[in-house]
Symmetry: C3
Subunit: 355 residues, 3 copies
Amino acid sequence: MSANTPPPSAASPMYRLHPYWYIACRSSELRAEPVARTILGIPLVLFRDETGSAKALVDRCPHRNVPLSFGKVSDGKLVCGYHGWAFDGEGACRDVPGFTGEPNHRTRCASSHAIVEQQGYIWVFMSAGVTPESKPFEFPHMDTKGYTVVRRDLEAECSLHAMAENALDVPHTAFLHGGLFRSESVRNPIQAVIQRFRDHVEAEYIGEPRPTGIAARLLSPSGGVVTHFDRFFLPSIIQVEYRIGDENHIVLNGACTPVSETHTRMFAVVTANTRVPAWLLKPILLPIGLHIFGQDQVVLRLQTQTIQTFGEEDFASTEIDLLGRHIQRLLRLAEAGQLPDSDEVVATRDITMMV
Amino acid sequence: MSANTPPPSAASPMYRLHPYWYIACRSSELRAEPVARTILGIPLVLFRDETGSAKALVDRCPHRNVPLSFGKVSDGKLVCGYHGWAFDGEGACRDVPGFTGEPNHRTRCASSHAIVEQQGYIWVFMSAGVTPESKPFEFPHMDTKGYTVVRRDLEAECSLHAMAENALDVPHTAFLHGGLFRSESVRNPIQAVIQRFRDHVEAEYIGEPRPTGIAARLLSPSGGVVTHFDRFFLPSIIQVEYRIGDENHIVLNGACTPVSETHTRMFAVVTANTRVPAWLLKPILLPIGLHIFGQDQVVLRLQTQTIQTFGEEDFASTEIDLLGRHIQRLLRLAEAGQLPDSDEVVATRDITMMV
Amino acid sequence: MSANTPPPSAASPMYRLHPYWYIACRSSELRAEPVARTILGIPLVLFRDETGSAKALVDRCPHRNVPLSFGKVSDGKLVCGYHGWAFDGEGACRDVPGFTGEPNHRTRCASSHAIVEQQGYIWVFMSAGVTPESKPFEFPHMDTKGYTVVRRDLEAECSLHAMAENALDVPHTAFLHGGLFRSESVRNPIQAVIQRFRDHVEAEYIGEPRPTGIAARLLSPSGGVVTHFDRFFLPSIIQVEYRIGDENHIVLNGACTPVSETHTRMFAVVTANTRVPAWLLKPILLPIGLHIFGQDQVVLRLQTQTIQTFGEEDFASTEIDLLGRHIQRLLRLAEAGQLPDSDEVVATRDITMMV
């Protein structure tokens, strides 16, 4: 479907990860009107057919290249607003008003994308015209008794890689978010074990004290043992899992959707089972979380602008940049089609850092 | 004059139609001050010499490349606002203040363009420094007794080709302009005969009922036979000619001026002889016409943006896309210098469509 | 330091003059906070170390490419706002919070630039990591008894070359600034002698009458002999020196800082010893000077826009364009490393112009 693919930008290669699922929007956003969303630089239009099933086409009428999202949905067909060409959910042309011949023809089809709607999100498979063998990521504990679910749709002016590394990076929390989350002044040595698998990477932090910030003190006033995992799943899922003391289990999930090289959305889902009741916790923790993300947005935008000014990334690292390089390696292997076959651990590393 | 030609953009080849006439502005717009206009991406400056003749130069002082339109007209010369270099209507340098030598020199000339001023418009020939053999298009019936003339200067964010096809395209009128002009719900089969000549193409619609919209009902309340021609003349003239019943003859002319790849102006001239008196018709039809053009502007801008996003046009068609492909073919032949010599019909086609 | 150099733009070659000094900002602008400035397209961050010495690094953290100017200065180190990496004035990494190893490492250094702070300005040497053999330009008479000093920081949307030529160009003053400075109507023939040296060029005007504008009449009401030199020093210093009658000595200096191909700053310093006392002169002459510069800003911006539209400069000249071509030649020789060794006069020319 080369004619339906935008020309390559100055994109780094990690962005050509089309045969994967990405969230386009929430289920609740897609009603009677078509919805336009861009993923991996490709404009898509989403709509619901006559059965209510979500459908995704490339957002360009094959006739005169007006965006189909300018049109309307009529009898479960997406109708272009210029000449009224009508398309079904698979992109076949079903009506050309005024034309006495058969409307459906190979050249008059819109490219279609597979969709899965689950857990309140609409996921799109970004290889056009393909029936995917894989399934989208499932957010854990969304239906588990005792767990509260909080959703937020976030976005930042940065690449997918920058967003994922930032979300899973521990050292910056003490600095950029100092006081809110971790403290810059009090640091303790901890161990981190990194394990890279076929399609994901995980860091486990051992001996981490309860964070000293406000948030952690609310959750576990008496301190207690902390278990902490950070994970990245191809192509774009981040996950932070905490157990603080016996009573608190918190999983922060973020399904990232690369809009362009420099713009990424994150559909965040927090599932938590905590000692403090949910109705009490949410009004306190949510503003803190959004404040933290606001600080990240600023630094990510500045990082993106600086990389654009200099024309390319030029990163130096230390061993406490635990996951960034592994994320990048996974993205590159996936893009090159060189992921290993088995899901055994392919790399493991044990390092000390001050947290 | 390569040094005076902007570098090629991502232009489609159809835009390199320089040896043709285009309207720069209305006669009434060009008074004592120089006027800047861009055509085919080339900035021009228009001014009137000491005899009142309109003149056109490339809008760049050959001295230090300040736009000459920043200057003023003095004694029929165009004087640059930076150092006062003065140019006559042919672009020769007539004064270099402070310089004791002869100002006129080959390297100090501004490129000039031939001009014809007629029917209230200033036409520019876009090959610089050439005395053209051809003449500009003449709008018909502008001086015929009984005809009312309405002028409007319009513009849209689209290519010349997109504007011309849109203006001459029948099928979208029932859809995009549904109700105003033609109806989406009631359709009748009609015949269309397309004839392509050396430098223009014409569609005649046979058996077309009087359009059901408000406009047509005003003109011919009792119905009556409709004669309808759509025409495109190289490089950029569109013409829609209607006879509705015995009493109404309406010719809509549009002289398009490509400003850039994605911006086109249209100098529209409607000449009409109708049963309803002109003073009654104009306040009703003009707002309808401008409303229709406003809808076209929106869809043309969206089309342009989508083509830019995907990097190129990718159009599919049916046979009821009567004129678009012929327009494109004429533009391409003209650009390649491959127009046939004779003005006999070079192609004819007979199709059925529902209107 | 190729990784720290932005990729070449559509820059003309004259801008690659890195092994030279340029003013980044005034001394008074650099206090406790880091200051961001761009020179030759390279973003720099300036800060003061623990001794108060000004330091300049490339404004990109080597870690994750966030601009260091987003950070803060702590104990004389520049601390990145993202992870807290701390750099000394030479760009060495002195702290990586959380990292238990040695922070300083070749890959973790920020590029540094030599700085000289003198006469209230901070000069930066634009070849990174080099100890320069040359010294910055010194503004004359800043500490001479009887001289008043006026400073203004100006900027315009133009290249360094366009700004320097404009500042030293006599013919446009009678036209663009007609009446304020020189008159368009009354002109007298004068001689100009141009001498080009190894790294500068000078025009001396012989027989120039006292300018007829307001400014000159204030300074020397009785007329008197005028001595007038215009000078350009590589890479970017302009100087206009006037003696009007016996009592007035005025030197206008401008140290130009090329920010980008199309944006240039000028740190202007006027040193003057005049018959009219300074407190009386400044409120009259300063607004006139700023008005004149405002007119130049307009024409320089239009010149830049026109050059961008056409893709390149295409200048014609006469012999009264005294210094522009010499400035360009010096810039090109300097860039190619082909400046002559000796400082003897390498060219001299004698021309007549009407002023």
